[in-house]
Every structure is written in C-alpha cells, then in structure tokens.
C-alpha cells in the first residue's frame, strides 16, 4: 500500500477497493489514452482491456506520453502494456490489436467503464452505441487545439451523438493537438473515472465539461439533471 498512500487522503478503504477491482475498457491509446492509462494504473486500477491497432509515429512525440523516438513504429498497445506493467506489476492487461468492430463481447460485458479516448468521431459514436447495447457507462473525451470536453454518458443517453451531430470531425482538424491538451483533458478524465468508480459524488454523469485553456473558461453543458 506504500505506493498508493498519497492517493488515500481522498479515498477511504472501500472506495480504494472498488477502484482496485474495477474493469476498464480503454479504447484509444494515443494522446488521451496514454495519460488515462498512466493515471488509472497509478491510482491502483488493476484490470484493463486496451484497444488500439495503431503504431507510434514521429508526429506523436509532441504529446503522447508513452511515445519516444525509440518506439516509433511499435504498436501502442504493446508499448502501453509493458509500461503499465513496469509501473504496477500486479496489473492485468488484455490487448485487442484490432478495431472496435472486431472486439469480442466479453471485455465489453465485463467492463465497469468504457473509456472513449479515440480520435475519430465515427468511433466515438460507435462507442456510445456499444455502451447502450451492453448497458455500460462511457467516459467520453475529445481534444483539439486549446479546447476539449469530457463527461460520463449513461446507457441510452445520446450525448455524444448530440455533441457531434453531423460533424465528422471537430476543431482538431484545423487546430491540431498541442502538447498539453491530452495531458489536461486526459487527467480530467482520470478524475472523473475515479469519482465514478469509487461511487463518489460530483462525477460528470450525463453532463459535459467544456474546457478552454486559452481563456480558462470551464463550462458544464448538456446537463440532463
């Protein structure tokens, strides 16, 4: 427990056990996914299914936590699995080296939380549908330029669909992705995952937090409460 003692100031024993035994389905292991994986494993989450078929590229070096010049060309899922095991050897990690459509039902059925850390709007919508089909909550996140948004969507609530509408891409198409964006939004997603999994109050459930790092405006919208 020594490794977790500095997290226990905000968690009681029961909450810590809930986090420890939670099962995470993390889709997308790039900018957001790297910070989310890092944060959750350091919090003590022990069970992950990682989904990403992509490989690290040179252009990832500006922002993706586990990207280094030495692993350009390597599969993100393999790199993250090894890195997470080094951080916390007790962690159990399954890897799906394919797209979401080819994922078996079991990791979805077993998940306590599905995390959308993908960079395609179409895949984000697929994740929302997956959550509805298997009655699983989805922690959504998106980034672009100075901006980002995140929130937890309960099964049947179509907030991701409402958010994107007919848009196939968001602001990232023109504003790209600076170094800090996945770090800030990814770690905010870790915060929400923690609150949700531990059964805490104030999680962003069916609400979406919009973050503007240029002006430091933080707004909660899509509030269905």
């Amino acid at each position: 427990m020594e490794r977790f003692k500095d997290s226990l100031g905000i968690l009681n024993e029961e909450q810590f056990e809930r986090i420890k035994h939670a099962r995470i389905l993390l889709v997308g292991l790039g900018g957001l996914g790297g910070y989310i994986a890092n944060g959750l494993v350091r919090l003590g989450v022990e069970r992950f299914t990682l989904v990403d078929y992509d490989r690290f590229e040179t252009s990832n070096l500006n922002r993706q936590l586990f990207s280094t010049p030495g692993n350009v060309g390597e599969k993100k899922a393999d790199v993250l699995r090894q890195a997470m095991k080094e951080i916390y050897p007790d962690v159990s990690i399954e890897v799906h080296d394919g797209d979401l459509a080819s994922l078996d039902d079991a990791p979805v059925q077993n998940a306590d939380l599905i995390i959308d850390a993908t960079d395609h709007v179409a895949t984000k919508l697929d994740i929302e549908r997956l959550g509805a089909e298997f009655e699983k909550p989805v922690l959504h996140g998106g980034i672009g330029g100075w901006y980002g948004q995140l929130g937890i969507i309960t099964p049947g609530e179509k907030l991701i669909s409402a958010l994107y509408g007919d848009n196939e891409k968001g602001v990232e198409e023109t504003l790209k992705c600076p170094t800090f964006a996945p770090a800030v939004i990814g770690n905010l997603m870790v915060v929400e995952a923690l609150k949700f999994l531990a059964g805490m109050k104030h999680a962003l459930i069916n609400r979406v937090l919009f973050v503007d790092l240029l002006t430091h405006d933080y707004d909660i919208l899509f509030d269905t409460e």
């Binding site: 997308g28 790039g30 900018g31 957001l32 996914g33 959308d116 850390a117 993908t118 960079d119 395609h120 709007v121 984000k124 996140g141 998106g142 980034i143 672009g144 330029g145 100075w146 901006y147 980002g148 948004q149 907030l159 409402a162 958010l163 994107y164 509408g165 007919d166 848009n167 891409k169 968001g170 602001v171 990232e172 198409e173 504003l175 790209k176 992705c177 964006a181 996945p182 919009f210 503007d212 002006t215 405006d217 707004d219 909660i220 919208l221 899509f222 509030d223 269905t224």
Partner: protein
C-alpha cells in the same frame, strides 16, 4: 432578448456573449444569421443546457432564452 454564448474559437470571432432582439417566431437559424454565421455551418447548438440535435436551426426560441453554440473537439 436572447442571449447567445459562444465557445471555443467562436469566442474569438464573435465574442463570448451576444444578445439578439427577440421577436415572435424567431428561430435559432434566424439568430445565427443575424450574427453573421451561415445556418449551414455544422455547429452544436444547445437551448439552455439541452442539445437541439440536427434540427437546431428550425427551433423557435422564447424570450429571455440562452442558446449555446460550440464546435466540439474530436481528437484524442
């Protein structure tokens, strides 16, 4: 009056908040055109804090309403 709140890069273009004079039958599409935005532009629109969906531009707005207009971020 109807208050329009902009998010993301739209704040730089139109300001954080704009007020539009209400009139009977005023729609979201009317409002965005008065501000100088094409109603064909793909944006996410919320009335109060509820998303309006694909038919947003056709929705009539009551006096003293607040609409939020934002372009979402889709990167990861």
């Amino acid at each position: 009056m109807v208050k329009v709140i902009f998010y993301s890069y739209l704040k730089d273009l139109y300001g954080r908040t704009v007020e539009v004079q209400h009139e009977p039958g005023l729609t979201v599409g009317d409002i965005v055109e008065r501000i100088g935005i094409s109603r064909q532009k793909a944006l996410t629109v919320l009335l109060e804090k509820q998303a309006l969906g694909r038919q947003a531009m056709d929705v009539e707005v009551e006096p003293d309403s607040t609409i939020h207009i934002l372009p979402p971020a889709g990167g990861g």
